[in-house]
C-alpha cells in the first residue's frame, strides 16, 4: 500500500506553495517530480566521484564506471530483461524511437509496411515518417474506437506479410488506454515476422513490466517520467536483434577498432552509445529504479488503478466537462479534457491560480486531436504522490474555472 502523505515527504518540491495554495501537481505525464534520493545521488556523483566512464585508470573513473554500469543491472531486473547487455542508454524515448526507426528501416525493402496507431505520441510517428520517406516504406495506422481503444479487427486486417514493424503505445498519454500487449504480440507473431516495439514512456513508470512474459521485441523507456532525471532513457531490445542492428551514431566508445577507411563496432550495448554517455543522469535513474522497486511496482500499479477509478467518477460528474478517457476496466490515470466553448489554455491558466498544475495543448498527439475535432485539451495525470484529495481539488477548481470562463 502506498501512503501518499508519508511518501510526499520524500519529494522536496511538495514543500512549495503555488499562488498561496498547496501544490496540486497533476502533470506527471509530462514529467514526474524527483525524490531526494535521486537528487542526492546525482549531487553525490558530482561532489565525490566525478570522472568520465570507461576510460580512466584511476579510482574516481573506476567508481563512476561501476556505478554507471550497475544501473544496467538494476534496469534488467526492473523489466526482467534476459541480460543487462540488452539495456541501451538513450537521451529518452524520442531518441530511442529515432534510433530504432533509422536502424531497423535501413534493412527494409521499398513497399514494406509499418503499423502505428492513431493515438501515438509524435515521438512514435515522426521518426517512422522520416524513415518511410527515405526508404519508400508505407505507414498504416490502427483505428481508435469511439471508446478510445485500439480497433483490434482493424489491426488484424492491417497485418500482412509486408508488415515489418509494429510500434504501439503501451499506455496512452491522452486516453489512458492500456492495450493488451500479449494479445497484440500473439496476433503479430501469428501472421507476420514483424518486430514489435512498445512505447513504454507512460507504461513503465506505472506498471510492473516483464518483457520476457510480454514476448515483445523492443521497449522505449523515458527516465524523467519515472522519477529519474531528464536526458536519460532506455531502449531495451532482444540481444539477438540488437546484434543484427547497425549503430546510428558514430564516435568514441562505440568502436572496437578504427582504421582510416573503416571501423568495427564494440559489442552490444556499447556500439549504440557513442560519446560520453549521460552517466550522472543514468546513475540518477538507477536511484529512481531503486526507489520504485522498494515501493514495489505491484503497489504502484494498484495505486494508479485505485486513483484512476476515483478520478474517473469525479471528473465524469462535472457538468459541461468532456473527458477523453477509455471505457476499459483497466487504464492509466490520465485524463484529457475539454469544455465546449472554452479554450484549454484558459482553463489551465485558471487552474494554476488554484495551485493546480495540468498540461494544455495537444500533448504531442496532434493527429488524434484533429480526428476528434479538438484544437487542444487540458490533461491531468496522477502518479504515486497524488491522492484522492488532489482530484477533489482539481474537480472543484475545474468547476470554479468553468464558472469564471463561461
Amino acid at each position: 500500500m502506498i501512503k501518499v502523505s508519508d511518501l510526499k515527504k520524500d519529494f522536496p518540491i511538495f514543500e512549495r506553495e503555488i499562488n498561496g495554495k498547496r501544490l496540486t501537481y497533476l502533470d506527471s505525464g509530462a514529467t514526474s517530480q524527483k525524490p531526494s534520493v535521486v537528487i542526492n545521488e546525482m549531487s553525490n556523483v558530482y561532489a565525490n566521484m566525478n570522472a568520465n566512464v570507461h576510460r580512466g585508470t584511476y579510482v574516481l573513473s573506476s567508481e563512476t564506471t561501476t556505478k554507471y554500469e550497475d544501473v544496467r543491472n538494476k534496469l534488467k531486473d526492473f523489466i526482467n530483461a534476459y541480460s543487462a547487455d540488452e539495456i541501451i542508454f538513450t537521451k529518452g524515448c524520442t531518441e530511442g524511437f529515432n534510433f530504432l526507426a533509422n536502424s531497423i528501416c535501413k534493412e527494409l525493402s521499398p513497399g514494406d509496411e509499418i503499423i502505428l496507431s492513431e493515438i501515438e505520441h509524435h515521438a512514435n510517428i515522426i521518426p517512422w515518417q522520416m524513415a518511410a520517406e527515405k526508404y519508400s516504406l508505407k505507414i498504416n495506422y490502427i483505428n481508435i474506437t469511439e471508446s478510445f481503444d485500439l480497433d483490434l479487427d482493424h489491426f488484424e486486417n492491417l497485418l500482412s506479410a509486408k508488415t515489418k514493424v509494429v510500434s504501439i503505445v503501451g499506455e496512452s498519454n491522452m486516453s489512458g488506454m492500456l492495450p493488451d500487449i500479449q494479445k497484440l504480440n500473439s496476433l503479430i507473431k501469428e501472421k507476420t515476422d514483424a518486430i514489435y516495439i512498445v512505447d513504454g514512456a507512460q507504461l513503465v513508470p506505472h506498471r510492473k513490466i516483464d518483457v520476457q512474459e510480454l514476448g515483445i521485441d523492443f521497449i522505449c523507456v523515458s527516465g524523467h517520467k519515472m522519477l529519474g532525471p531528464t536526458g536519460i532513457g532506455v531502449v531495451w531490445g532482444r540481444k539477438e536483434l540488437l546484434e543484427k542492428l547497425d549503430p546510428v551514431y558514430g564516435g568514441g566508445d562505440m568502436i572496437e577498432e578504427v582504421f582510416y577507411d573503416s571501423a568495427t563496432w564494440a559489442p552490444v550495448p556499447h556500439k549504440f552509445e557513442a560519446g560520453t554517455p549521460p552517466y550522472v543522469e543514468a546513475i540518477g535513474l538507477g536511484a529512481a529504479v531503486d526507489y520504485l522497486s522498494n515501493l514495489n511496482m505491484k503497489n504502484v500499479e494498484k495505486h494508479s488503478d485505485d486513483l484512476r477509478e476515483y478520478a474517473k467518477k469525479k471528473l465524469e460528474n462535472i457538468k459541461g466537462l468532456n473527458v477523453v478517457h477509455t471505457n476499459s476496466k483497466l487504464a492509466g490515470c490520465t485524463f484529457a479534457m475539454s469544455v465546449n466553448g472554452v479554450h484549454a489554455t484558459d482553463i489551465s491558466l485558471m487552474l494554476d491560480t488554484f495551485g493546480v498544475a495540468v498540461r494544455a495543448g495537444h500533448h504531442c498527439v496532434q493527429p488524434f486531436h484533429r480526428k476528434l475535432n479538438l484544437d487542444a485539451t487540458f490533461r491531468a495525470t496522477g502518479y504515486i504522490y497524488n491522492d484522492e484529495e488532489d482530484f477533489d481539488i482539481l474537480s472543484d477548481a475545474i468547476e470554479e474555472s468553468i464558472k469564471i470562463l463561461t
Binding site: H343, A344, L349
Partner: protein, 137 residues
C-alpha cells in the same frame, strides 16, 4: 496618450489586482469587450505564430497612424492581445518602431508573461513592430 503613458496606465490598473486569478479576470473582461473582430479576418495571413492558442492581429493604416484589430480563440490570450493592440493603436509607425518598452518587465502578469510562455506575447509584439518598421521605412 503616448505608448509609454498607455503602458503606465495599464500597469497601474493591473497592479490593483493582487492575485493572478483577478488579473486573468481583468483580461477576460477586456476580451469580452473586444467583440467587433470580423470572422473573415480569422485567416492564416493574420495569424500570430508561436502562441499556444490561435491569435490574430490585423494592422490598418489611417492618416499615418496605425490601428490594430485583434482576436483569439482563447479568452485570456484574447485579453492580452486586446491590451497590446490598444497600446499600439492610434500611434505613428515610427513611434511604435522606436518604442523600447519591455511589456514583459512592466506588467506583472504571472505565467502568461513568464519566459516559459514568452513566445506567444513576444510574437504579438514582434508582429506589431515588424509591421510598423516596414511602414516607418
Amino acid at each position: 496618450m503616448s505608448i509609454e503613458e498607455k503602458v503606465e496606465d495599464y500597469k497601474k490598473t493591473l497592479a490593483m489586482f493582487p492575485n493572478p486569478q483577478e488579473k486573468y479576470q481583468y483580461l477576460i473582461e477586456q476580451a469580452k469587450k473586444n467583440e467587433d473582430f470580423p470572422q473573415e479576418l480569422r485567416i492564416d495571413e493574420f495569424k500570430v505564430n508561436g502562441c499556444q492558442s490561435q491569435v490574430w492581429l490585423v494592422p490598418e493604416e489611417k492618416k499615418n497612424k496605425l490601428y490594430f484589430k485583434s482576436d483569439s480563440d482563447a479568452l485570456i490570450a484574447k485579453g492580452l492581445v486586446t491590451l497590446i493592440a490598444s497600446i499600439y493603436s492610434n500611434e505613428a509607425p515610427e513611434d511604435i518602431a522606436n518604442s523600447k518598452i519591455d511589456l514583459m518587465e512592466e506588467f506583472e502578469l504571472g505565467v502568461i508573461l513568464s519566459p516559459a510562455r514568452r513566445n506567444g506575447a513576444f510574437s504579438m509584439l514582434k508582429t506589431i513592430k515588424e509591421f510598423s518598421q516596414k511602414l516607418a521605412n
